[in-house]
Symmetry: C2
DNA sequence: TTTGAACTGTTACCATCTATAACCATTATT
DNA sequence: AATAATGGTTATAGATGGTAACAGTTCAAA
């Protein structure tokens, strides 16, 4: 009987399949790491962008994170309820809400970033610095190649 | 105002975040490609492994694809209803079901593989052959690094 | 200036995916 | 024979992702 690890040999030619598996373990691990802080992968990402871009509007945040506006609402509800952010009506456009991190939000953000940094190094421990940089660069090129194609269509 | 593409600069140091975004576009695209064939990413993966390993049991297939057994049931129900596979009680263990691809299943599998191959090349069009191989190798190392850690824990 | 289009956040809703517990039938263990 | 363990299944829950529709606001055109 072949090893379980070889039964999917045909699928290993696809970057997509291997990425799905790698991402699955990363996602599980990062959520495990963030759970004591009351964060998930998405809310963590949102919090980091908010801390880096105070005054950002929800639609801009959604665009930045590449998620749909409706799906962002509950994420921000959670962060707001945790006292990590505030939503304030933008004076120059009363439709929009400008998001601001609270002092507590900034503190938790830094702590979470440190945890996620450790997690990320652990996930890529089989790679040297150069390979790790190449991996991230390759992933970014996949993202932009697709964006290019979407613009053509 | 900073570009939307730069607002998440802090997150780009994390392989996990960049992989999430890259995988998101890959997943969307492959499902779009497979949709005319009546397949999803998971059912495609299952069909390929089944075609390569006739007689495989459901629990072995679940282990191979790294998905939980209950989640495999509906996937196989679909493939069976489409006439692509059969589930037969294993003579030597009447608890187990041995999965076999039908002729039609093998045909569709080959056609789908060809489509997915084109999709995968399109997704990695920004990479040369070497970079593409390095990417897949790096992703596999992430997977196995985590497995190693889980065994330690 | 007023009508209609476009945009912002929101709600409701649906489909997919993943994980867990519990169950029945069967096999293995003792 | 009694008990545990295994294989497939059902039910269920939570997270995720997407669309349609709506109220309030701003913008653009007539």
């Amino acid at each position: 009987m072949p090893l379980a690890s070889e039964r999917d040999a045909s699928l290993r030619e696809f970057a997509g399949y291997t990425m799905k598996r790698a991402f699955h373990v990363i996602q599980s691990d990062v959520n495990r790491v963030l759970e004591p802080l009351g964060l998930r992968m998405v809310s963590f990402s949102a919090l980091v962008v908010i801390a880096d871009n105070p005054g950002l509007r929800q639609s801009e945040l959604a665009e930045t994170l590449m998620i749909e506006r409706p799906n962002l609402v509950l994420v921000l509800d959670t962060l707001e309820r945790m006292g990590l952010i505030t939503r304030n009506v933008a004076p120059e456009d009363r439709r929009a809400l400008a998001i601001e991190p609270t002092a507590e939000g900034r503190r938790l953000c830094e702590a979470a970033k440190e945890e996620v940094r450790r997690h990320d190094r652990r996930m890529t421990q089989g790679l040297d610095e150069c390979e790790r940089a190449d991996l991230i660069a390759a992933l970014r090129r996949i993202e932009s190649a697709t964006a290019r194609e979407e613009n053509d269509g």
